[in-house]
Amino acid sequence: MRELAKPAPVPDADTRPFWEACRAGELRAQRCTHCGRFRWPPQGFCPGCYAWEHTWERLAGRGTVTSFSVVHHSAVPSFKDDLPYVVALITLDGTDDRVTLTSNVVDCPWEEVRVGMPVEVVFRAIAAEATLPQFRPARSASSP
């Protein structure tokens, strides 16, 4: 019983541009055209000034681990082979700390993950329609 399907994100009208960008290998976040504020999660209007106009800004794909958990137990069959794995909150550079994603820290022993660790995005296709942004320890000063 291998290759069990993992839950894939189901995009909606607010979130589709984010997931489509991930499929294209780009990390993007919404920014208000009126006041310049970044926001997360995706939504139609700015929580600061309530303007609806916005852009999907391309980000450098770098960020910082602001907290994390190491999952050692799962009741979800498709994740059991991954145990233990790291779920982390990643605050993205260039967003004035307004965009913090829940994601995974990969390519790093779980014992070495720390709050404050700089990370960079790696894209992982989990299904034909779904690509997840995950993060690994930052390797270079330039954008990936």
Partner: protein, 388 residues
């Protein structure tokens, strides 16, 4: 603002807590409700408001179904999808219906087969990546232990809190549960037991986590005026608040937003709190609540619980029944039941004292001369103050 001391909790009831009730949630809700109504000295048809709440998807009988099953005459019904955050908000909403005159006697209940039926339901939910979950479940954030690890890990990084601190809280609350026959987890544990229990989701080990439960709990709320004619001395609702805003950092809960409003509405300070029943699905969440509602300065809760200041004879006893961690996970409506028991003139009726309270901590879990109780919901999403 809820008018101070104008509403009261006058009835409390509960079923046995177990891992396999063998009963429907309608029966569990009804059993707890009938007991709470009788405890108040009322009859079922005196109830004209019925309320409950749940997390994500209904896992029990709705107020509409329960009201119909009890043959009530057009009760005001409210069923809220809000989870543990809403705990004191539910009580505040019920009290508001009473204070405004919409209802005379509101029945508030939680009934769930959270263990026997909940596991399959939660596993199925973990496989859905819809709505807010599209940013969680695909990354393997399925367990509440993972979600609520985030504030804990951040607190550890910022203030040097350790899992050894968590252990002290786990041991103290288990000591409280040992004096509570209805608690599911009563066997004493040691610091070493905690530290050697298996990881669930770092920084939480098995003994940092509560477990899901089958059972039911209910309370009855009425006006202070009507309460004086009922069976027990009223336990007054001094203030109740709910609602979430932004916090400045992960190591803070929404309690930092609500605490000033709560204490301001009641006209008291944290120093006036005799004991507290705080939402504790995981050890560290309870610790953050202790800080954010002012029982201990920010960043100092590790030393505070290590010194046992949350014990029954400590500076501020916390979770005197053992909490969600040990008694049961009734979305903390069981915390309200415990607070009411502690504040009634005769004190708790189901510790191990035979006769008057002795304060011998081998048998007695009654707090000494309590006046005011602090309660809060998950992540400080709601809070209230009760008094005798």
């Amino acid at each position: 603002m809820l008018p101070r001391d104008q509403t009261a909790i006058v009835g409390i009831g509960w079923t046995a807590f177990s891992r396999n009730s063998g009963a429907s949630t309608k029966s569990l809700a009804a059993e707890a409700s009938f007991k709470a109504i009788a405890d108040a000295g009322l009859a079922p048809r005196d109830v004209d408001g019925v309320m409950s709440w749940y997390y994500k998807s209904s896992d029990g009988v709705s107020p509409v179904e329960l009201g119909a099953a009890m043959g009530l005459d057009c009760p005001f019904e409210l069923y809220v999808n809000a989870g543990g955050h809403w705990m004191c908000g539910a009580v505040t909403a019920a009290a508001s219906l009473v204070a405004s005159g919409v209802c005379k006697h509101v029945l508030l209940y939680v009934a769930r087969n959270g263990y026997s039926e909940g596991r399959g339901r939660r596993a199925a939910e973990s496989n859905l990546g819809v709505g807010p979950d599209q940013f969680r479940t695909p990354f393997g954030e399925h367990l509440p232990a993972t979600t609520f690890a985030m504030p804990a890990t951040a607190h550890m990084a910022r203030f040097g809190t350790t899992t050894l601190d968590f252990a002290h809280l786990a041991v103290t609350q288990r000591q409280h549960a040992a004096l509570n026959p209805k608690a599911l987890m009563r066997k004493p544990i040691t610091i070493a037991d905690h530290q050697s229990s298996r990881w669930i989701s770092y920084p939480y080990r098995l003994l940092d986590c509560c477990q899901q439960t089958d059972g039911g709990v209910a309370i009855v709320i009425t006006s202070a005026e009507r309460a004086r004619d009922l069976r027990h001395a009223p336990v007054y609702i001094m203030a109740g608040v709910a609602g979430e805003g932004e916090t400045s950092a992960l190591w803070e809960t929404n309690g930092v937003n609500l605490a000033p409003r709560l204490y301001g509405a009641a006209g008291v300070t944290p120093a006036d709190v005799s004991f507290a029943e705080l939402y504790d699905p995981f050890t560290a969440m309870c610790m953050l609540h202790m800080e954010d509602f002012g029982l201990v300065p920010k960043g100092e809760v590790g030393a505070w619980v290590t010194a046992g200041k949350n014990g029954l004879d400590g500076e501020t006893p916390v979770n005197t029944h053992g909490g969600l961690l040990n008694e049961a996970h009734m979305i903390a409506l069981n915390h309200v039941v415990e607070a009411v028991q502690q504040l009634r003139p005769g004190g708790v009726i189901d510790d191990l004292c035979a006769g008057p309270h002795t304060y011998d901590r081998n048998v007695c879990r009654q707090v000494r001369d309590p006046e005011i109780a602090l309660l809060c919901g998950e992540a400080g999403g709601s809070a209230m103050l009760l008094r005798k």
